[in-house]
Symmetry: none
């Protein structure tokens, strides 16, 4: 069965290649200008071949997003699993994970933000929308359980853990968003400094002092 194995592998590899190509084009030219033709060219395949791997153009993007989302889930899960070790450094650790997440694949993160910001999602076929929903929920839940832990253990100020999860998450989102619009405008950015100050403020606001 070695031959079948190899085929399987090749197929998986091609899928990845297509996803990567699509995201690259998206990054360079935006969603609107990302045509199947361009994706195919970059992947050195024919346009028709793309349809052997994905049924529609949107599916390509949704799969890229979901795949990234799963990577993020692992990061979060890792933190949650180590929560009793991390204790009150858990917020700092989380923030680091956000950064790690971002630098792991900023291109796809941007595509994700785009999908969520545009009304794209609403026009997606039910099935794809559910995929995005499920994967997103899983991460949100993880995040929220981490917050719950912090509050329950008395490390964080008392408040609704779900809301806190959202606030932390939006801090991250906002930074990415600003980063992007600056890039689009052709302006330089000092992402690291913003990131540092954001964390300083956030932690001051969240972490209880004795």
């Amino acid at each position: 069965m070695a031959i079948e194995d190899r085929r399987e592998k090749e197929k998986a590899w091609r899928r990845e290649l297509i996803l990567k190509s699509a995201i690259e084009i998206y990054t360079e030219e935006g969603y609107h200008a990302t045509t199947m033709e361009k994706i195919a060219q970059r992947a050195e395949l024919s346009r028709a071949t793309l349809y052997l791997y994905f049924r529609t153009k949107d599916e390509i993007f949704v799969h890229a997003i979901v795949s990234l989302s799963e990577f993020f889930h692992e990061l979060l899960k890792d933190i949650y699993d180590r929560r009793f070790v991390l204790k009150d450094t858990i917020l700092e650790e989380l923030w680091k994970s956000f950064q790690k997440f971002y630098f792991h694949d900023p291109k796809t993160i941007n595509a994700t933000l785009y999908f969520h910001q545009s009304q794209m999602i609403m026009n997606l076929p039910e099935e794809l929308r559910l995929m995005l929903d499920r994967t997103g929920s899983k991460n949100y839940e993880m995040l929220w359980k981490i917050m719950e832990f912090g509050i329950n253990e008395g490390y964080f100020v008392e408040c609704n853990p779900k809301t806190l999860a959202e606030v932390v998450w939006t801090s991250f989102l906002g930074i990415i968003h600003l980063e992007n619009s600056k890039k689009a405008m052709g302006r330089k950015n000092h992402l690291d400094i913003t990131w540092a100050l954001a964390y300083t403020i956030l932690s001051k606001g969240i972490i209880k002092k004795e």
Copy 2:
């Protein structure tokens, strides 16, 4: 000249109508699905008529965004002008302004976010990109001067005012962003609660205590 006056007024009114229609369609269906035909239908005009008011589809959106941006500028300027009265409540006031801004016209704000998030801007003709740039810069500057005031007067923690402006602004952006993606997913949201907690945390992190 009464007749010319009325014409002028009618023209301005039509312009507004077109902008509003475009944004509405955008809100309901997303940028890609916002066709000139649909805008025209909603405005009860012919497609060709739109071109009497705006030269391209992008121009419509850019003008909507700029117009909103100018409204925001007034809010910011008002706060800055009253800074010596507001004193240490200036952050709270600013946060309220953000909310006011958002509820004034959430639809156009979303379109704005979309434009900045997508690579749309990069593909815009120079002239339109400059329009967006200029108007955005003005607001950023205002925000930054407000922060500077807070720091110089000793109300806020010491830090780089520009970076602080960014952090405050990204907090707002992030919330909007999350709100949108929730809406797109068809989920309910408790925006007010998030907003409140975000401010609590932010102010704790920014405002100096004696």
Copy 3:
């Protein structure tokens, strides 16, 4: 009634202005790019006003052509009237008239050629086509009578006067045509030399020697 007179004059003057403007734009940009808007701008009138003077865009051009054709008719008639004076120099005189005609208003001549060459004429409303036809026929007849004179008087070789008229006329047409395509190609031209040689050959072929 002086006031009515002046109005009449002004109206005629405007008509001319419109014709001139249309032909100018045509010369600079070609028929396809000659829009009513551009004609109006050049004539410093509003687009709608053009329709007070001409019912359609084609009408403008047809009138310009007809007007020029009438000028040409006068030239030809003049030669014919002086035929007994001119005698065997009548061919030379005719050739000079062609040149005079061309330099009188090359732009409109080109427009005329265009109309005749394109299938434009076929798509014209009956009425306009007839206008062109009538005026063209008149000139053709004149030309043919001049040839007839030359043949009957024994100045020209014996042949069918109508056919001869055509041959002479096509010699002229061909030169203009070449001139135009050279211009369109951006090449320089030595029109006068071509003209001279063409006449030399033509006259050698037509004029009887004793």
Copy 4:
């Protein structure tokens, strides 16, 4: 590779079909009225398919013209190659070639004349303009070398060979032009007679007698 071969052939055949369809519509309705839709219908293809073969509408016409021009080039070259055999009958032979050329594909010749007469060419993209230019120049050069031969060998009257080439060429052009405008006017024509007389006159003017 038989399969690829056939594909190649089919593709070439389709190209020809499109060119032919375009020229036909042009002949019947004129350039302006020749829409991609109509061309597609006549070729029994979809509008989009046309764009697989030619990038723009203009490209279709330019290619048709160039292709015809190449046919003409062969005719001219053939005469030039046989010049020492033809000797003083070379002018007659040339004139016959003109006729042969015209009857080979009068429709495309007319389209060619149209392109050269209208300012169309000026508005063409550089690349297409060059194509026309190059192919035109080649033929002009051939014609001029034939004239040069006639003059040098003492068959033709002494004069500038380039100018003579132009005069001969314009004689042809003029006849075609007249033919066309007559057709457009719905008049009958006796092309052969005109042609014969034109040649008689031309040869009398050009060929030296001893």
